[in-house]
């Protein structure tokens, strides 16, 4: 029952997303733009940054960025749906509230997954080398992080019910996270104080873990922390999300 309901919600979301190809195209073009327009800048710097291959450094960062940003903005669609009365109409059916959330998150996760594959595949053309299995695991971590962010974003959307409130909140969270996670450049090249601040960013550990996974280092402390943080964020995101969807007044 639960999975059927989740699937109904997921299929509905996916159908609507695919019918609006603008979003699908924008979603796919973004990682490509980063690779084409930012990747070449990193190539000559790779050595200085302590990496043999610029793209094993860069692609994991882009993956996490996709996971964070793409998914954090997922909630905006929910506000529109709430305004159209869809959420209320779904909540008056006997369907599980968790299924209503999960079906939506699965759509975001699928989009992220496809974007990730396009990104990695394309990066090979630019000269990415490394462990394929590691990349698969890196993609899984990204997807879990994306699910957490999508759940949190949906929860925030249903709590604020206003794009005008939500946009500044998301931006004020996303920008520091982006800058302090070493997504574009590793934090190790920064001054001491910046490194200390970034130590408080769970996403930094996730980026670092995916970088190690890409080079084939599976069983390191860095990887372990990244996996732990991903799982913690995933659990927290789902918890907050389901709680909000169950809350009566949402």
């Amino acid at each position: 029952m639960f999975w059927r309901e989740t699937f109904i919600v997921f299929r509905r979301q996916l159908r609507m997303a695919l019918r609006n190809p603008a979003w699908v195209i924008i979603g796919l073009v973004q990682p490509i733009l980063y690779l084409c327009l930012f990747g070449p800048l990193l190539e000559p710097l790779a050595g200085t940054l302590g990496a043999e291959n610029a793209y094993t450094l860069f692609v994991p960062g882009l993956l996490v960025q996709l996971g964070l940003f793409g998914a954090l903005f997922a909630g905006f669609g929910l506000i529109a749906e709430w305004r159209a009365g869809v959420i209320e109409a779904e909540r008056v059916t006997p369907a599980s509230r968790t299924a209503l959330l999960l079906g939506r998150i699965l759509r975001d996760v699928l989009q992220l997954f496809v974007q990730g594959i396009v990104l990695i595949g394309l990066a090979f053309l630019f000269g990415l080398t490394g462990s394929i299995i590691g990349m698969v695991f890196g993609l899984i971590l990204t997807v879990l992080l994306g699910a957490a962010c999508a759940a949190a974003s949906n929860a925030l959307a249903l709590t604020t019910k206003s794009e005008d409130v939500m946009a500044p909140v998301i931006n004020s969270i996303a920008l520091p996270v982006l800058l302090l996670s070493g997504i574009l450049l590793p934090m190790t090249i920064g001054p001491q104080w910046l490194q200390v601040v970034s130590d408080f960013m769970p996403t930094k550990y996730i980026v670092n873990a995916i970088r190690e996974l890409f080079t084939g280092d599976f069983f390191t402390i860095t990887t372990m922390w990244g996996v732990i943080w991903t799982l913690v964020l995933f659990a927290a995101g789902l918890y907050v999300g389901t709680r909000t969807f169950r809350k009566e007044n949402a």
Partner: protein, 321 residues
């Protein structure tokens, strides 16, 4: 079909400064609706209509009191309640970019009915509600009346025995409203569905409902048939418009002899409530004639539910609506 006792809901709100105040949205209502009835829930905006409806449809937990809907307790058997009822909210039920047919099928399937069943039921409802040919139409490309009928179809896809309609005709043009009224009364005659609807339109309650519950400030202040409610108002409204405004005081004195209440002068218009106006008006006109007061027009209005509301609460519905 609906039995509520002392159903209440308070929200935590904020008063001036940091004081926490409790806002009583619904302050304990008793509601009884029998199978096959069409009952209207009438009140101004903010009176507690939607909050009551949300409690009866399991979207909101009551802070006090109890209610059984379609034979199930809203607090402890919410799943069974949801299966038995349809709810058409004010805000709609479909995404503007989705396709109508797909929306109704998905909605039906969330109620647990099979895909084939959902499609069959959906198409049947489209036909009943004059939505033929709109199966693949996007709601954003529909008229307001079509969208409202689609919302009603969505609420009926699982064949509920009881349907709640929250302000079903708000924002529709008069023609679409009249059309929707026909469809709503057909819910009973053709499908044997019990209907509980909220409205702040008096003509709507009047045209559709067997019984009207009047709610104000979270309390039900009256419950009766529209006709019986109107009888509570003391008399019909007689409105005289004079050719010469300077004679309005004299006219008022004559009108007062037959008036029961609400005697008033507004420029050249003199009005009052007169019990049995049909009988009294002839004598009134004769006495005006005898005094040489010329009338521009005379109007006798039967009491409306607006007058009922005014009598019950001291306020007009229209001021808030």
């Amino acid at each position: 079909m609906i039995h509520a006792r002392g159903l209440a809901r308070t929200f935590a709100g904020r008063g001036k400064g940091a004081d926490k105040v409790e806002v009583k949205a619904v302050a304990g209502v008793d509601i009884d609706v029998e199978a096959g009835e069409i009952v209207g829930f009438l009140g101004p905006n903010g009176a507690g209509k939607t909050t009551t409806l949300r409690m009866l449809t399991t979207l909101l937990k009551p802070t006090a009191g109890s209610a059984t809907v379609a034979g199930f307790d809203v607090a402890t058997q919410s799943q069974q309640v949801r299966r038995s009822i349809g709810y058409v909210s004010q805000s709609g039920s479909t995404s503007p970019e989705a396709r109508a047919g797909e929306e109704i099928m998905d909605h039906g399937m969330l109620y647990g009915i099979s895909k084939q069943q959902a499609e069959a039921r959906g198409r049947e409802l489209f036909e009943q509600l004059d939505l033929e040919g709109l199966w693949t139409r996007e709601p954003r490309a529909m008229s307001g009346g079509q969208r409202r009928r689609l919302d009603i179809a969505m609420g009926l896809v699982h064949d509920p025995t009881l349907v709640f309609l929250d302000e079903p005709t708000t924002g529709l043009d008069p023609q679409a409203r009249a059309n929707l009224w026909t469809h709503i009364s057909e819910l009973r005659t053709k499908r044997e569905t019990t209907v509980f609807l909220t409205t702040h339109y008096l003509d709507e309650a009047d045209a559709l409902c067997d019984r009207v519950l009047v709610i104000d400030h979270g309390v039900i202040v009256a419950s009766d048939t529209p006709d019986a409610l109107k009888r509570q108002v003391s008399g019909d409204l007689v409105e005289l418009v004079l050719a010469d405004a300077s004679r309005s005081a004299e006219t008022a004195a004559l009108l007062e002899r037959v008036a029961d209440s609400d005697l008033g002068i507004d420029g050249a218009t003199v009005s009052a409530r007169v019990r049995g106006a049909g009988h009294e008006v002839a004598g009134l006109i004769r006495s005006l004639d005898a005094a040489g007061i010329a009338l521009e027009s005379i109007e006798v209005r039967r009491p409306t539910l607006d007058d009922v509301f005014l009598t019950l609460t001291g306020r007009s519905l229209r001021e808030d609506a």
